[in-house]
Symmetry: C2
Subunit: 405 residues, 2 copies
């Protein structure tokens, strides 16, 4: 199958490209390297140095005799790029990771908020118009996030909700109340894509993904020349990845607020399998299909405890520290999210075990010497934006102070 | 009160400015004149020539000894403009009409779709960040549209919906499924503004307005030097205004499809009163308040019949012609939309009477000689975008042909 992966230089994009290439598909990746720029901007460095996209594609070809086509370009600013790709490559599936992926980055200031929504929403609009023109039968697999839902007081369904109101029924888009302007950009995308499926008979799968963790996949196979961009900082690092690195360097695990916030999580290996299942079982023409893509729910404190437990098996002593929550979110809330669609297609989850955390810890300890500790503490406050770290204080002390016990 | 009106050069913005000025408020209008450019682009001309914003403000000052401050600038492209306005003028209320207001314009092609969503969403984000910085207690009155809801099979509530699901309850944002990328831009705005009220304790009133009709208000008072930009073309003309002009020039009323589509409508005079009521009764801190701003529901065919009836009282013979519907929308659908919030604050509607239509017809007949008939027939198809009118055919014949009977 001809598969086009947008955002193919990223944490999930590159492993996805190898995953499909290894299975014999014709893979093109598109990226504008913007994320590497955002990382520089906020001072985030990946745990291991990440070779360029072309270097990794070259390494992959040497090792597996499989070609991954790389296109360097901007799907949002360049309205013609996706037109050219859809006309010339004629993708049968488009996997769309090509967006600014960080909530704190979007909440940093006005400029970043505007950039995030413009970049994400316009990129997706350009994909829609290119598909309409050149490949209206292609299947668009769009990465959304569980964060779009927020924390409603009712069960979270998979994208749609059956409603009875004043004696009448309808099936409506699940109402969303997310916690950041980044998450809102994905809500906007979802609305635009539901429209495209309704107007133009598109096949769309919208994947509301939980928080991803993990460093390794079968195709990376511990080869540093094929590695993905693993982040542990406050802006681009997801919470479990961050905790593991904190444990590895002997820094307290920083829990925002009480840590009773519950979210859905999944292993990066399951991300790849979910995408594969979605591509193998496309949505129908005119169907806007939504899956909640996660395998387990945890509270932040449960994750912290799990990391502490695994770390102690490796002889590491780990502290847990509560910081004033820089985000505006409910800390005590109902959370029950359905996620039966992907298991129904055959997903067999890799659950979070001490072994999984242990493997991550080992990798993190290998890279511990180069970890930038100052990049880990939160610097973006949801009410006020970027809070300058106090320059004269020791590294790691920023103005968001530990909360009172 | 210090009131800032965004989009103050427009069909509703300018009459709103005079309405508040006449009541002794300190009014600033902001506009970038972009709409005059879009009109040139699609070949739309207003029924009467519209003096510039500054000319109208000057005329108003001469006549009423009231000053309306005019600021020419772009709230979307210039991220600093609203910062400066909020810092220096310190508005107590911001009335936000400053967006691209046409569904067909947004569906014309990729460029217009991208422009519409970017312009509308980013403009509103810039307003939000400026308010956060300089006037977080100000009341933002944002113009949305009834079209955001689409045509659900359940009653349309005012912005929020009480849901019971699997035995649990929540109050959720009313789920929306609109019919154009323009309407979607307003859905995105609504989500961003609900977020702002939740994160930053903003006072927000989101007005989901029906289709507005009418030429005159008390402050215009038939003075051509104070007139507003009344449009009758397929891109910027709302349906009743278009029908009235068609009747006045002896052209058949062009109904899209069956004409059984039902929508909410209101008189331009009621728009002004609704805005006034919203401003006089601001939303609370942290409240995202939504009103459905219309006074009556009609099907398109009912409107056409009403225009035919009023026209015949003036001795005009009017035909009704069904065109293939260029839009993708349900023509037979349930429609029951609540609109009790504004009457609850004191709105006494000007309902659609033969007298109202008759007054509009008289004005339209005054301008009939200059009407650009070719601009009235639909040229934007929802599935394919702009359809080039057939150049060699007589004026008014375009490729969207009358439907079979």
């Amino acid at each position: 199958m001809r598969i086009c992966i947008l955002g193919g230089d990223g944490y999930l994009g590159w492993p996805t490209a190898m995953h499909f290439s290894a299975r014999g598909h014709e893979v093109m990746v598109v990226d504008n390297m913007a994320k590497r720029g955002w990382e520089e901007e906020v001072g985030a460095t990946p745990l291991e140095p990440v070779p360029t996209l072309k270097e990794r594609a070259r390494r992959w070809r040497q090792k597996k005799f499989q070609h991954i086509d790389t296109v360097i370009g901007n799907i949002a600013d360049d309205g013609q790029l996706m037109q050219d790709i859809c006309r010339d490559f004629r993708p049968e599936a488009i996997i769309h990771y090509g967006e600014q992926p960080s909530a704190p980055y979007s909440m940093l200031n006005q400029e970043n908020a505007v950039y995030t929504q413009c970049n994400n929403v316009i990129g997706t609009l350009n994909v829609m118009f290119a598909m309409r023109e050149h490949c209206p039968q292609a299947h668009l697999v769009k990465l959304g996030t569980m964060g779009e839902y927020g924390t409603p007081n009712i069960d979270i369904e998979e994208g749609w909700l059956e409603v009875t109101h004043n004696g009448r029924k309808d099936r409506v888009l699940y109402p969303k109340k997310p916690h950041s302007l980044y998450h809102l950009s994905k809500v906007h995308d979802s609305h635009n894509l539901e429209f495209a499926s309704r107007m133009w008979d598109f096949r769309v799968t919208d994947l509301n993904q939980g928080v991803v963790y993990g460093i390794d996949t079968d195709e990376i196979g511990n080869d540093p020349e094929l590695c993905t961009s693993f982040h542990y900082d406050d802006i681009f690092g997801t919470v479990l990845n961050r905790f593991v690195v904190q444990a590895a360097i002997g820094m307290p695990l920083t829990v925002y607020g009480s840590g009773r916030q519950i979210r859905g999580y999944l292993n990066i290996r399951d991300t790849l399998r979910c995408i594969e299942l979605a591509v193998e079982n496309p949505a129908g023409r005119g169907e806007f299909r939504v899956f909640n893509q996660f395998t387990e729910q945890f509270s932040i404190m449960e994750l912290a405890e799990r990391v502490r437990e695994s770390a102690s098996e490796q002889g590491l002593k780990v502290e847990i520290q509560h910081l004033r929550n820089p985000r505006v979110e409910q800390e005590d809330h109902y959370y029950h999210a359905k996620h039966s669609g992907l298991p129904g297609l055959g997903l067999e989850p890799h659950l979070l075990s001490n072994g999984v955390i242990g493997h991550m810890l080992t990798k993190a300890m290998d890279g511990a010497a180069k970890v930038n500790e100052a990049s880990i503490l939160p610097k973006v406050d949801w009410k006020h934006g970027w809070q300058q770290p106090v320059a004269d204080e020791p590294a790691g002390i920023v103005c968001l102070q530990p909360a009172r016990a």
